[in-house]
Every structure is written in C-alpha cells, then in structure tokens.
Symmetry: C2
Subunit: 292 residues, 2 copies
C-alpha cells in the first residue's frame, strides 16, 4: 500500500509534438503518468502555477521562471536551421518592407513571436507597429504588411508559397534566419520540472525523463509509422510530414544550449526577465542512472 | 490530405477501468483517438450532449437516452456476483435495519445508487429517507443508518470490514445481492456511440471498438503486470487488486444483456425513462469484420 500519486505531466497535442508522445502510447509509460492535455500557453501557465509537476514550457516563459524550474534534457522542440512552421509572411520581398511596417502577431507562442520581433527590429532594422490577430493568414494580413505565423497554419502557408511567384507572398523561416544570424540552433520549447517536485520525487522525475527519451528514440526508429499515423488525421501529405519531422529536433545538445543562452541574452532586452544565471540553464540531475 | 478528425472518446481514470485502457497505452491505439478524461457523470453528460462521439455511460443514463445511442459490445463494467466496490454499508445487521431507515447516497454513480434503492425498497421492504452526502464513510454514516458507497472508498470499506466484528459495520455487496435476487449479472456501465456519428463514420467506430476489445484481452493476458502497475499508485495491496480485477467483467455476454434488460425493466419504476424497445438494447453493427 502507498500514498504515491502519478506525476502530473503536460501534453501538447499539436502535430510538432507527435514524435515526443508517440512512444508513450506504445510502451505503457502513459499508465504511470497523469497526463494533462491543454494548449501550450495553458500548460506553461499551469507548470509555473504548480498545477503540473513536469511539462512543456515555451522558452520565454521558462526564462522568466527559471528560479522555480529545472530543465529535463529530453524532450525539447528545436531546430538547427529551417523549422518550416515559424514564419514571417510578408506581402513584399523583405527588402521592400517599409521602415515602420504594420506587423500582425498571429500566434499565442511567446517564443516564436519574440523571435520574430528580434529579427524584425535588430536584424532587419525595422520599427514595426504590432497588432495581435487571429492565427489565420487572412486575418493576419488583412490590415498588415507582414505577419508572424506559427504552427500548422504557418506550415500550410509555407507549403503553399515555398516556391514564390511574382506578386505572391514571401515566407521567411525564422529558425533559419536565426541560424543565419547567430550560427546557432533555435530552441522553442523545453520540458521542465518544478524544483520542489524534483527535490521531493527525484525517482519519479527520472522515470518520466527516461520515458520521454525512449519515446523520442522510438519515434525516430519508427518514423515511417509516425508519418503514416499523422497523415491519417492531419491536412498534410506524408512527404510534407516526413520533411517536417526531420527538421524538428527533440533534444538539447551543447549547441542547442548555446542557442538557448544566446536567445536568453538577447531576449532580456525585450521581455521582463532576469538574465540566465551563470552556468545556466540548470538541469534536473537524478544521480547515477542505474536503469541503463 | 484529408479533413478527418480523430474520434472523441471518453476516458474514466478510475481503478476499475484500468484494464479497459491498459492495452491502448501499449498498442499505439491512443494515437488514433482524441481521448477526453473526466469523471463518469461528466462523460455521460458529454456523450449525450454530443461533445463526445464514443464513451462510457452509466447504465441509467444510457437507458434514458437509448434513442440517440448505440451500444458497443466491448467494453463494459459488470459483475456476475460480488463486485466489491458497490456496497450498502449498515451500522447494524440488515435484519435490524429500521423500517424507515435514514440512508445516505454517498456517490455520484446513478446506476449504483438506483440499484441500492431497488434493493432497499423492493427486496428488503424498507421505506428509506435518502440524503446525499460526501462520498466518504464518515460523512455518509454521520447522520444515517446506512449508506450506499461506490468506488475506491467502497472497496476500502469492504476490505476493512469483510470479516465482520461484533458491533462493527455490515457491508453488503449490491451486485451479489442483485444476483441473489434475479439470478443475473449486474451491468454498471456500457460504452456507446452516438447514433449520428456511427452512421457517418462506421469504420472509425469499428476501429475504436476493436482497439478496446484488444485492450481488454491484453489486460487479461497481462493481468500480473496490470496489478503491479496499479499497486504502484493505488492504496491497495496486489492481492486485493488481483481479486478486484477478477471480479470485474469488461464485456457483454447474452447473460449480461439479460441482466441489463431486467435492470431496465425494474428501473423504469424509479427513474424517468421509457422502457427499452423490444429487441433492445440496440448495438452498433459495422458490417462484416474483415480485420479478424
């Protein structure tokens, strides 16, 4: 008998996270997790509020709350170059964008939006006037020169306009732009555990980490099945899904951490957050791993 | 490309349903389902309201809404004799219960509560005064002669009092009493599909049915693992869990259907529901099953 409870873990049911959760539905690992599905922003909020123990958090929110959280090395959502689904869509080629363009932020992804602002202001030297619109292309471009689009809608727009036609829309991949600018990968979301929970239940956190790590490995090994499963339900053909899953990266290497630190250092000028501590980000450490 | 969406399926995260969902987390079947977890009453309500396509529904609610629903042959929650977790707890032996006892209905399970009322009024010849209380033993018996308890709390009370001591509580298993009374199994919950959804998407409904059927079979084959997994998180020792899972039945045989019809016929005197149609209940039929 016991008084344990399953760890409360956040679940993003978006296409880009399918490879992260794929294996959990095949190994039985889900049976030891109290999985909570919600939109990314809601999951970030709940983790910060202590209503979840472990979960995905958009990088910007992690940086704001790094004192209360420890990173888990897997999974993450990142890209070392094009990510296909985080785009600046402009009505004209970038060079013709006005000095003070009207830019729609058609997304609730704080990290993607901040990346768009950084690039527009610091790299392209513009002084945009921002408005927030619904996350579809038509709403976003109705009264704007450009829009930051993120997610499935952005991926759809990328495929429709990847071969630019004269007078057509211009789609700029913001993770590719970030890499051109900094030489580094872009980290969009991390998985973190609340510091108090990790101290109280290191064994459970380690189990969840290993379950996610194994799930991502398994989805890499079974990528054909992952693509076929996604193609059954998502409005993209298998080839587009395969390309997308190949672009996405689901772990944090040293290069990814360098990208994360670079983003953190630039972000503190835009958002209300303290700089990362020296040596940060701080990781959950379970001690010797006897399960390997 | 397609415009399909995953079927919205209800999920009860209670101990008695673990063997129903066990296999879904091992075969990958969850990846083709949009699973919604909620308490049983809430899932019943959502299925009736059309906010779910397929899901568990307590028998009483199914009977009230049988015109809009089709039964799926697996899974179900039933017992042919003792179920251990649906109990009438009395302060005295049953024979000493007053003619007009004060009875707490300490549960939100409408079927278990109705079963308790039927037995008290029609079998034991009492005229109880009912009150609704919190679902714990202490609240339930604070101001009452007896209480209908259901679920984990009822299972706990059963184990604490299964060997009755002089002056101790008396625990009556209502599914065992039902069998003594009628000779039939008791069906507590069924899984149903909305009739309109089944007509529009028979292939998807069939997939979900087969996934549940395979999940239940797998949990039977792997019952030792199911017990070990449950024992990790639930406040019961493995032997108690093994006994519980052995008592629970997860499919509908002809005998179960006879029990369901008998309950429906008696229930219509208590609750606002039309009798089952002749030949009912009506099942989802997917046509020839080519997957077998």
């Amino acid at each position: 008998m016991n008084i344990a409870r399953r760890p409360r873990v956040g679940h993003i049911a978006f296409l880009n996270c399918l490879p992260i959760y794929w294996g959990l539905a095949r190994t039985g690992a889900l049976l030891d997790i109290d999985l909570h599905r919600a939109p990314p922003d809601e999951l970030s909020r709940r983790l910060v509020a202590g209503d979840l123990d472990i979960g995905p958090i958009t990088l910007v929110e992690y940086l704001k709350h790094a004192d209360d959280l420890l990173l888990i090395p897997d999974p993450a959502v990142a890209a070392d170059g094009p990510v296909l689904s985080v785009n600046l869509v402009t009505k004209t080629p970038l060079a013709d964008l006005p000095a003070a363009p009207r830019v729609s932020l058609a997304s609730t992804s704080r990290t993607g939006v901040l990346l768009g602002r950084m690039l527009l202001e610091d790299r392209y030297g513009r002084t945009p006037a921002y408005t927030v619109t619904a996350p579809d292309l038509q709403s976003a471009l109705a009264d704007a020169d450009a829009a930051v689009l993120i997610g499935d809608e952005a991926l759809q727009v990328f495929h429709e306009h990847r071969h630019r036609e004269p007078g057509g829309l211009n789609v700029l991949d913001l993770a590719a732009e970030w890499k051109d600018w900094t030489g580094l990968p872009m980290v969009f979301a991390v998985w973190a555990v609340r510091r108090d929970y990790a101290e109280a239940h290191p064994g459970l956190v380690k189990d969840v980490h290993l379950a996610f790590r194994d799930s991502v490995r398994r989805s890499r090994d079974e990528i054909g099945e992952v693509v076929a499963s996604a193609a059954r339900w998502e409005p993209f053909p298998p080839a587009a899904l395969a390309e997308y899953f190949e672009r996405l990266q689901f772990g944090l290497s040293e290069r990814h951490l360098a990208g994360l630190r670079e983003f953190a250092s630039r972000a503190s000028r835009y958002a209300d957050m303290a700089p990362l501590r020296a040596g940060g980000p701080e990781f959950f450490a379970a001690g010797p791993d006897n399960s390997l």
